[in-house]
Symmetry: C2
């Protein structure tokens, strides 16, 4: 694989990797309906340590998937990408495929 191709797929993988965690997928999903949420709200929903949630948000931000805005002492995050809904739909269709195939194997 030539270096240019390698670099391109490295860059893509970095973005996909940022989404490759249940908590981060959940966050992206929560933010996907145009709603912005602060860290404490997300922390409450997720039920983990706030530092953990903050780091997950940092990963998503580093990949350019979300952006933040400070208002007072709170930080609000929102999606920076509009196509994630399709992305999730695709993942969901894979899941459905997998279930269908498993049922076929049992039948």
């Amino acid at each position: 694989m030539d270096p240019k191709t390698q670099a391109r797929f490295d860059a893509r993988a970095k973005i996909v990797k940022a989404l490759a965690h249940p908590t981060r997928l959940f966050i992206a999903d929560q933010l996907s309906d145009q709603a912005e949420k602060c860290v404490c709200e997300l922390t409450e929903m997720i039920g983990a340590d706030m530092s953990t949630v903050s780091k997950h948000l940092s990963v998503l931000k580093g990949a350019g998937l979300i952006c933040d805005e400070k208002r007072g002492s709170q930080v609000y995050y929102k999606l920076r990408v509009c196509c994630l809904t399709d992305f999730f739909a695709c993942v969901e269709s894979v899941l459905e495929n997998n279930v269908a195939q498993q049922q076929e194997l049992l039948a």
Copy 2:
């Protein structure tokens, strides 16, 4: 987060994680144009150890993203999911957004 939601996002993450590697993204891309390829062809293109490529294929297969068919002594892999093209397009748009933002910061 209630257990059901947790399980749903765990399942999604498992699929996204399977794609979260440059080599595996490359493989998925190669297989995305309806073409099936055997392990040796992919190994040649990627330039890694065949055992490494085989393991990557195993990860993709485990996630239900590709399927395999043995013909003689060779194993051919092909995509099992049609929506990956949109998936890649979304990732690509994130990359473009990021570049645009970086340029804006410099200007």
